[in-house]
Amino acid sequence: MDEPSQILAPDGTLVGDAPVPVERIRELYGDLVTARVFDRKASAMQRQGRLATYAAFEGQEACQVGATAELESRDWLVATYRDAAAMAAHGYPWVNLLLGRTGDERGGKAPEGVNVLPPSITVGGHMIHAVGLAWAERIKGSGAVALTLFGDGATSEGDFHEAMNFAAVFATPTIFFCQNNGWAISMPRERQTASPTIAQKADGYGMPGMLVDGNDVLAVLAATRQALERARGGQGPTLIEGITYRMAAHTTADDAGRYRDEEEVAAWRARDPLERVRRHLESQGAWEPAWQADVEEAASGAVEAAVEEAEALPPLGAGDIFDAMFAEPTAPLRAQRSMAAGEGAP
């Protein structure tokens, strides 16, 4: 388990069996490009003051697109603030992802039928939710599974232990996908764990662990497919560690130059998760500049439409902060709602 599994080398050559046909690889490439267009647009909007703090995921697109590529719509995705690409791939609208970042709770409302929880903002507490969701689906006999995404930093939280332990003890159909992007804000992976890999932690819980090249969308897809088969087959949870890299700072409020070298970033730039798929497709005669332009234009169009929709929403009123606390507002909340509206008491 020392070397991460790889199917597509950084230069685009296949070093393993492609798990999907080339047409599907073209679709995955489209998802990767769309994700990057969104990510860069959101970062730019933050600089323009149109979004609050934004956590860019550039560099991690293959993990997020690959891990969700074979989820079914009935399956659950429990992800974090850096996982917009994964959430979008599983049906969460771009407009919701933007809204959340404008500081608007309406972004957390997934459409009916989209089984994606709002992104976890605290680190680590969400992994056990994927255990409970998967457990419930098994009790209901639905056949659905749950996949959770988290970072290397989250594995330091006690919650990681409890989630992994519960999942293994009860053999819940849960997939734990760690995007090891090397950095938890300013601290390198080595400061999170003395374990040579995160994947090997699975041993301690009695579940399989897999180590994959997280910048290789095909390797990520293939590993997740195995984990999904295990989960659906009643064989319980799997931990997958994708080795990737956070190309940007932790968030738009962070300055990565304070703690890491430009050479390290440049080395990872050469392992770009999009470029290797592009080269592979080109080698198969399945890529040309005009198609790339079409894909980028479609992505920009989708993102721009989301931006327009988000910015056109009427602002939230004082009453809105009370109306989703309970199914029915309680008497004290009704009284406070009136007070906030300036009726009666201070």
């Binding site: 659950w76 429990v78 709770e105 309406r106 957390g108 409302k109 997934a110 009916e112 929880l117 709002p118 605290t122 507490g125 969400h126 056990i128 939710h129 994927a130 255990v131 409970g132 969701l133 998967a134 457990w135 419930a136 689906e137 009790i139 209901k140 749950a146 006690g158 919650d159 409890e162 989630a163 332990n165 519960f166 003890v169 009860f170 989703a324 606390m325 309970f326 199914a327 309680t330 008497a331 004290p332 909340l333 009284a335 008491a345």
Partner: protein
């Protein structure tokens, strides 16, 4: 009707609730041994280990897993063995359980019940006698319920399981076996958010909840023997507080004593006193008095009597407001 203790009434409620395939009971030792207080006794044998689940020793994990189950459409009833053991689960309760409806704008909800035995008076070990209900009451998005009779215990627990929102259900350890009531065998509910006026009277209002209701009832008996007619209110739900009932009573009596076992500062009694000041000040004939535990760590067995509010302290406070 069957004569039941509070613990047996809760057991009956869970047994009936488990007839629905959506209800699961989970927690440490809830299955094979029936829980440290035997509240879940016999449920695993009757309803199976898949839905009456003995979990690993991990309170945060229990609540986090129950949260996921609830979001997926089940009605989990999680047990945390003691109030002091509920603290490791604060992150799940406060950051996730209490917020999911708001942060998803009603798209996802967590209709789970978190049962927590609380309070002192049985000489238990350290961390086993806490009354930290104010922390839950202070958390937006939770309902907090505390029964003080076997009848209410059953009816309120069934209502909590039916409730579309998360309910922290506090069980007074000291009363688990202290009182027996005739409790209906079938299913019934008591409304969440409504206090009970146990005794009607015009001279002074005694307000409390949970374990302290025993001292309050004893004090009310003593006052009645002296010819004073107290009104006794069992809050039953701490959040949302039944402000209307409390204010209406004090508007009538003009005198109020609020009793809690919890530490004095920023507790439920403080909130009740604040509400009375805001809404019943011109009816008050005396300053509202609080009878509470102290702002000390709840003592161990040998010093517990110095901490727990006694009937005598409730009586002294009542006399003080009656004499004013």
């Amino acid at each position: 009707m069957t004569e039941r203790t509070l613990a047996q009434a809760l057991n009956s409620a869970l047994d009936l609730a488990l007839e629905s395939p959506d209800v699961v009971v989970l927690g440490e030792d809830v299955g094979r041994t029936g829980g440290v207080f035997r509240v879940t006794d016999g449920l695993q044998a009757r309803h199976g280990a898949a839905r009456v689940i003995d979990t690993p020793v991990a309170e945060s994990g229990i609540i986090g897993a129950a949260f996921g189950m609830a979001v997926a459409g089940l009605r989990p009833v999680a047990e945390l063995q003691f109030m002091g053991f509920s603290y490791p689960a604060f992150d799940q309760v406060i950051n996730h359980v209490a917020r999911i409806r708001n942060r998803s704008r009603h798209r996802f909800t967590a209709p789970l019940v978190i049962r927590i035995p609380y309070g002192g008076g049985i000489g238990a070990a350290e961390h086993h006698s806490e009354s930290a209900e104010a922390i839950y009451v202070h958390t937006p998005g939770l309902k907090v319920v505390v029964p003080s009779t076997p009848h209410d215990a059953k009816g309120l627990l069934l209502a909590a399981i039916d409730d579309p929102d998360p309910v922290v259900f506090l069980e007074p350890i000291r009363l688990y076996r202290a009182i027996k009531d005739e409790v209906a065998d079938g299913r019934y509910t008591e409304p969440i958010g409504e206090a009970a006026v146990e005794r009607q009277g015009g001279d002074v209002t005694l307000i409390s909840y949970g374990a302290m209701m025993r001292e309050v009832r004893a004090a009310a008996d003593a006052l009645e023997a002296e010819g004073v007619v107290p009104e006794v209110i069992d809050l039953r739900t701490l959040s949302p507080l039944d402000v209307e009932t409390v204010v209406a009573s004090v508007a009538k009596t003009g005198r109020a004593v609020v009793v809690q076992e919890a530490p004095r500062t920023a507790g439920v009694a403080s909130e009740v006193a604040a509400v009375l000041q805001e809404q019943a000040l011109y009816s008050l004939l005396a300053p509202v008095q609080r009878v509470t535990g102290w702002d000390s760590v709840v003592p161990l067995r040998r010093a517990e009597k110095h901490y727990l509010p006694s009937t005598e302290r409730v009586l002294a406070a009542a006399r003080k407001v009656l004499e004013a």
